[in-house]
Symmetry: C3
Subunit: 183 residues, 3 copies
Amino acid sequence: MKKIILITGGARSGKSSYALERCEALAGTKCFVATCPVIDPEMDERIDAHKREREGRAWDSAEEETDLCGLLARLKTYDTVLIDCLTLWVNNLMFSAERENRIFGETEMREEAARLSEAIEAFPGTVCLVTNEVGLGIVPDNSLARKYRDLVGRCNTILAKRADEVILVSCGIPLTLKETISF
Amino acid sequence: MKKIILITGGARSGKSSYALERCEALAGTKCFVATCPVIDPEMDERIDAHKREREGRAWDSAEEETDLCGLLARLKTYDTVLIDCLTLWVNNLMFSAERENRIFGETEMREEAARLSEAIEAFPGTVCLVTNEVGLGIVPDNSLARKYRDLVGRCNTILAKRADEVILVSCGIPLTLKETISF
Amino acid sequence: MKKIILITGGARSGKSSYALERCEALAGTKCFVATCPVIDPEMDERIDAHKREREGRAWDSAEEETDLCGLLARLKTYDTVLIDCLTLWVNNLMFSAERENRIFGETEMREEAARLSEAIEAFPGTVCLVTNEVGLGIVPDNSLARKYRDLVGRCNTILAKRADEVILVSCGIPLTLKETISF
């Protein structure tokens, strides 16, 4: 059964490892989507290890900096897609808008998050999203960091609304914030 | 029945929206207290929308930067008061002390938080407090930010002690940290 | 029965007070280990107060900046050892390596955390560790802070794996992330 899972946590909290474990426990084909061209080497290793395993459990991988909706449409034959991570996606959207002299504020973030949310619902398989909590420290000095943290908070909230499960990882331990029981 | 509810979370975690929802679910008259002169425009809109609703569910609003105890005494005819947010109140207390060349450290914070705690207990209706977690990032470079984060942590701990409910909001999802069952 | 307890939380979240309370509830001799030469004056006071109490409940105290494994071996007659805190220990390891022109990165952190983990398991009594969550704010500007936050995250995850209990303290309220039931 299709599920939407959102996994959040701090830096090096073990959220990505937990996300991989969760997805590995599922049957079927899997694709790991990195929102940056450079995948964390440790993740890379783990994914490579699984690539060498038997067909049914293998991970493919893809990279996409901004157009996650388009990518999901192309990946729809996969049973599970793991996107790591939303925070970097928000970062990429901000910088891509800046390069093209477009405004990217609260309104645009809401629109992008809503579009992604719809693409995730439309996707036939399970989608597991990894994100970061970035708003639990002191207010940042520079306005770009403040804006980024506001946009990430908004993005997380919008995507968590449609998720079946939301999990906060701290010290490598998953804490379920939300779990929708389906019959 | 009167309740004291403390809602904490990060920036744009959905804590204020959750606080409004919780209070809106309660019967009776309500007052929204902003600890800054400028209310978040989105909150403003939501409150305005409710002001236009039927009498019994309407929100009034008030602004108070430092003297929350005095304000609570004046608001005692309300069934519910929502104070958003304590972190800004701590900030205002620090700057007001600085302007008047008074010391505002750990001791003064404890006293202010204890005074507010008593005023909240004395208040006949429900008080819902919104605050922020600001101590879960890296130690800030500048000493004012370090002091602020220590004072906020202390303030939150003191007010949480007397609260019937303490709720941490992450990705828009409330997680109950404490719930006192009353009969 | 021996237990390993890891207590995490933000600055001034009440995690140290909670750790002291938890340990005080246990029978037997206790030692408080500060990872810095200067103990928080408030903790100092609390420990002093207990030192004046009856023998069986008294706290001794020790200070150790880097070699916690060696210290644990020397403290093995104690029923309970409380180490406050791991984050400062990571900080000390980083600076000690820098002073001696040694590399201290991810690999070295893993090794140190694994060694400590084993020393804690070998310790006959209960070990209570206090640490901090430092990865839930915005990505720090300077690379040393980024590295520190990554190492702390890794250290916490490694030590949490072997802990019987992992507790997140927010607003002075403990939230159990993990609890191993033993019979």
